[in-house]
Symmetry: C3
Subunit: 352 residues, 3 copies
């Protein structure tokens, strides 16, 4: 395992050391459970107590906390981002073993870079292009004419349908499905009472550079044009992105979110877990959506938006939910009260 | 790529041409981004502006819009369904290459039609039956005694557990799991504080004809009897259908919906994204459920049902959600006001 | 197929027979659709009508119902748990065929018990340990140094990332992904407007004994320390468990639930379908969460908690949801009314 002195770390990553710059670090840790030889960080005031009792060999702090402990420490403008860089330094990705596993099934017309690693049982169809230093994990399926950009890593059991394009430096986790058909159906009435006709989904999926996609997430191909995921987008697990959605650059989406067809999400948005965006909407840049919120109208102003039901003990919920079912009536009753009272007061005034 | 004149299209699909019937069409397009040689459609008045400026070579219109443009056009009763048929004409499914990939693992007692295409790494267990012109995609797993009806296409990594039956003309996308155990557990108290006993799930899944199932959707096998999906049902991605659910014919379900055990959904229902249906309920035919709605009671009347929290800017939500937590109290206060005012007015009347 | 007399059953499982103890049973059934030779059960008074008309050869009943039918019957303290045991007796899991399929790819440094069954196309990486009588299903991927405890069964296409540990007697359904990276990202501002840095996820997943995991469920590896699933936990399909979550023993979680990072759920909790738990919360033991509820605060008291929007016909919802958007205002109006009325009454009193 790699190890670095604090001075070695700041040489590589910037920041300044306070205390013994020769302190050697071999792993990252949480403040609470740090072992000797580890470095931790404080990004949230809430954990100040843990900072004071940590057994870490060193910590990463923002300037405003530089004096709260005596431990060897690195002062950085953004301690959490700095911590991410230190952890990447101490935990480098294992090098790829270039080559094709003999059990992989690769069409002759596919172009596979010599530096790529094609895992056991992977299937690569005709016309597909696999870039330099790509990992195609065990059992992945890469469809006809699909393109995987250089240095991208696909873990086990990823499916990329025909014609889909994944940019460089992607990280795609197990079970992801890219480019399955969008949900395009047209009801055709008939003597049978009607049935659904399939609308062929002839677009594809285009994914920018430096995108991470979590396990079992699905991104559907476009109906006519493409579904588009911008550069630097980060998608958590079990997200569903429908046909012709466009996600702007550097937007981060938490797990279990569903985005319906043809909606456009701006750049630098943050979408909370299990929230949803209805179809054909447009969300501007820098919008934050809370967890479990259903967005039903376009959003033109940056800011935070919420629509989750406030939870509580079941007996309180029963009472309030019953009130909610009669809220229109309650409103009418208040209006009637206002009118009655105003009339009564008017009569009284007149009476004076 | 196939191409057809407008007259060639109406010969095959019906409808009537206005304008140059010899106009040749080689692909479908959206109104907004149509290239020369394409045909587009108008199904929603909202896009009339795009219709007037489209570069499409021809368009498909309903009768009421037949005169709004000079473009060559096909007039059809249901322009969207007509468009679906035109797209299918121009984008036929690639023909299956019959045969078994040498890396497929097929039990000797499985019956696989000679016209079927069994992809690389697919596994077909003993007693399974694979019909004529079926595609079993790369890495699919077909369990013991499962049946796949003729012309059905299973894309990569589909899992069909033992004994499940899929009708003809199914389209099943990557990562779908059919026939995993339902969530049947019984709490057994004991000196250990209690533990869950598994209830064996001995039913299967039966799927009708012409069913589409989206990527990573799961349909559990029945506890005792079968889980049943009717003819013509269309399921989007990441849907969860629990044991012993029954879905009526031609019902369409959007992504991320969960339907709990033993519930019955009628025919021709439309279930919005990420909505849920609690267990042991019955939903009649022609019911429409909005996105993010939890159905907690049976529905006996056709119509539209909704239960999503209306979203808004976070600061407004805070104020209204706080009110919601006190809604029972507010109701009591209004009742008290009504009583006080009535008493005050009564006193005044008496006093007159 | 196995068959037992009622006396044979109670010998093995306890309970007492009333009626003909020689009645032979070969399968379980529902009360409603029981065929001759089957045994059914009553666990819910609601089905008393079905009990009286059932064609089952015998039934399992609680003591309070022991006299309501004349059928041969077994009286048991917990009829549903007893039924689970009878079904397991009549439907034993098929025996494993020990051995490695020739198409499996097993690293030389992996330790695979001779009694284990390794399915076609399975991949087992270096240093992994596969215990006695384990099933590694078709196409499973077991990462470097992962451990699968004895008697655990992994169905098709399960992915276990490197270093994850699964206890004995697990049942893991198709498409499950254990140990993918948690969603750890840090925003780093820059001249490019900012981008996300990946925080390496160096923890793993540890799963206790006797855990069941439903199809396509995902459990992420820890960011620094491990994600932990306790003994006897039961997870339904399509659940998302984020990094560093801890689930207490014997907790049962229904389908489509999402639990955000670092939250701790106690023992013997029951979490309803599609509900969510926000990050960094703590839920005590014996908590029941209703379906579609978002838990946004820690819960320190056992009990039932709810937060779903009450659904209804769309036109009623429109009216009530509109009221909800003005609920803060309504509260202000009621306060104003209370004040006005109090003043009016005070004036009147004074006036007297």
């Amino acid at each position: 395992m790699a190890s670095y002195s604090l001075s070695g770390i700041v040489e590589r990553l910037g920041g300044t050391v306070i205390g013994d710059a020769g302190t050697v670090i071999s792993q990252v840790a949480t403040l609470e459970r740090a072992a000797p030889g580890t470095i931790s960080f404080l990004a949230n005031e809430r954990y100040l107590g843990q900072l004071k009792s940590t057994r870490a060999a060193a910590v990463i702090l923002g300037e405003s906390f530089s004096a709260v402990v005596d431990l060897p420490r690195i002062i950085a403008g953004n301690p959490y981002a700095y911590f991410a860089r230190v952890s990447a330094l101490l935990n480098p990705q294992p090098a790829l073993a270039a080559g094709r596993h003999p059990s992989a099934v690769i069409d002759r017309s596919a172009k596979v870079a010599a530096s790529a690693c094609i895992g056991p049982g992977a299937v690569i169809e005709g016309g597909a292009q696999i870039g330099e230093n790509v990992l195609v994990g065990a059992g992945c399926y890469i469809g006809r004419d699909a393109v995987i950009g250089e240095r991208s890593r696909l873990y086990a059991h990823v499916t990329v349908y025909h014609g889909c394009i994944i940019g460089p430096d992607a990280l795609i986790h197990a079970g992801v499905v890219i480019g399955a058909d969008g949900f395009g159906i047209a009801m055709e009435q008939g003597q049978d009472g009607g049935h659904w006709l399939k609308v062929p989904q002839i677009g594809a999926v285009r994914i920018g550079r430096d995108v991470e996609i979590g396990a079992n997430t699905t991104i559907d191909r476009g109906a006519i044009e493409d579904t588009v995921i911008g550069d630097g987008v980060k998608l958590d697990n079990q997200i569903q992105i429908a046909h012709n959605v466009e996600i702007g650059a550097h937007t981060a989406i938490a797990a279990c979110v569903g985005i319906a067809g043809s909606s456009k999400v701006g750049a630098y948005c943050r979408i909370g877990g299990a929230s949803g965006i209805a179809g054909h909407l447009s969300i501007t840049d820098h919008v934050e959506i809370s967890a479990h919120t259903l967005v039903t109208k376009s959003i033109t102003e940056p800011g935070a938006y919420t629509g989750a039901y406030p939870f509580g003990p079941n007996r309180e919920w029963r009472r309030n939910a019953a009130g909610l079912r009669r809220l229109g009536d309650l409103n009418d009753r208040v209006r009637a009260l206002e009118k009655s009272l105003a009339e009564a007061l008017a009569v009284k005034t007149k009476g004076k």
